[in-house]
């Protein structure tokens, strides 16, 4: 069976892709509170 049609490889590819997509979603959703928090920390002089 060629690598293109190997079902196990396809499953592994899709799993890795979902893992990376979850990371992207985390970066997107966390960006708002993270940056607002960091910004307050910065303008508050770190206190």
């Amino acid at each position: 069976m060629s690598p293109v049609n190997d079902p196990e490889l396809r499953r592994r590819n899709v799993r890795t892709a979902w893992l990376l997509a979850a990371f992207v979603l985390f970066m997107f959703l966390s960006s708002v509170p993270f940056w607002r928090g960091l910004f307050r920390f910065a303008v508050g002089g770190g206190g």
């Binding site: 690598p3 293109v4 590819n13 890795t16 990376l20 992207v24 979603l25 997107f28 940056w35």
Partner: protein
Amino acid sequence: MSTATLAHEHEHHGPPTGLKRWLFSTNHKDIGTMYLVFALTMLFFGGASAMLIRAELFMPGLQLLEPDLYNNLVTNHALIMIFGAVMPAAAGLANWMIPLMIGAPDMALPRMNNLSFWILPAAGTMLILSFVVPFFPEGGSQINTGWTLYPPLSIQVGMSMDFLIFAIHLLGISSVLASINIIVTIFNMRAPGMRMMEMPIFVWTWLVTAFLLILVVPVLAGGVTMLLFDRHFGTSFFNAAGGGDPVLFQHLFWFFGHPEVYILILPSMGVLASVIPTFARKPLFGYKSLVGAMLAIATIGMVVWAHHQYTIGMSLGAVSYFMIGTIIISIPVGLMIFNFIATMWRGSMTFETPMLFAVGIILMFTFGGLTGVMLAVVPADMQYHDSMFVVAHFHYVLMPGAVFGLFAGVFYWLPKWTGHMYDERLAKTFFWVNVISFNVTFFPQHFLGLAGMPRRIVDYNMMFTEFNVVSSIGALVFGLSHLLLLYIIIKTIRGGQQANSRVWEGARGLEWELPSPPPFHSWTVAPALKG
């Protein structure tokens, strides 16, 4: 190529024909070609806007453009070049070359690959519409923010800003999908026996670039989404009157914007790592240190974004940190350049067009890096900030560091893609005209900046006239020279001397084991790697 591979490939069907081949393509070579064609098209849009900008700046006073239209052109020139030309061109090279280089039959997720590409024309249309919309009745004001989209101005701009925000969302989705695909392909689809530290450097550069993209693009998406909410849904993330702060947007933007520079440059450095050993006829010097340098650039590049914002009034501790961090980046970048020069050292060098570009890149990119160190120093940057010196600096970084690297890659792999050798005499003419006119355009801008000419200004003081005249003449030649590139590419596609599988005498790597052009389905049987 082994006989077994050839026999297997003959069993497969050829490419589909007509429009279907391109609309529904899941073939990495076809999708790579579409990326490259799209990038070339956008290069001409972005180039046309740059030539209009330089035509306006040919003389002081207002000649051709209203100030708002000028600002709109400045905004669109940057966005089209970065998101429409350079990133898709690099993605085109990745699509074409990564599977061939690692012995994979295709990208890991071919249908998603199709989606990643076809989002791009929609995004490009939205981007161009954001430029066009203000010309229609009720179209609102022009986008006069520059590519940085800083509020409060970006909150006040008319509906064209919404088109732009939507375009950025689409471009971001396309980039993230393509990056996920590239990472999965590199992790899971390498030929059996190919370890990570045996991959070609071009593949490594794209792995690092793809990770950078999935780290920073979502943050930009978050930033522009907050901007959209401020514009239409009554929030005050960036509105001081409502308790927000416009400087927060600058942090969000540059957390994306600075790594974006490395996203644009790294794939081209990967091209150099392929081109230089081939034409120096020597193995690449310091493979492991190059990989380490790339990882260092990516890591440090993520945490120095605020050197773009020294003038906003940060604390002394913060600016000191960002200054030192930025200067430290010059170490891994210098290491890369050192490795390229060491690869050439005592090599049997010949200077075909890709190698000419490689040598030119080393000289000009290093120069751009040096002015970058000047800009990293806080007291100096206070003087240079928002001047034409900055424009000269980043064009010296991005044109050689990204665009010329892509040109080198196109000339290096064009015979492999088309099966025909390009016209070397014409290509060398293109190189010399392109590089000389590039320097005529941008070198005088250093002096303009140092003398105090601000950037993003439609009119200027009489004292800046001479250098602006020189710069505009250079820009005219520079812009038109790309028509020669287009001619060379079309001529090569249509015919020419037949290229053999190993196009260049010194070329090494799996991609050169396949015929030129490679079959529609390549590496359907994984290649056996020599020890």
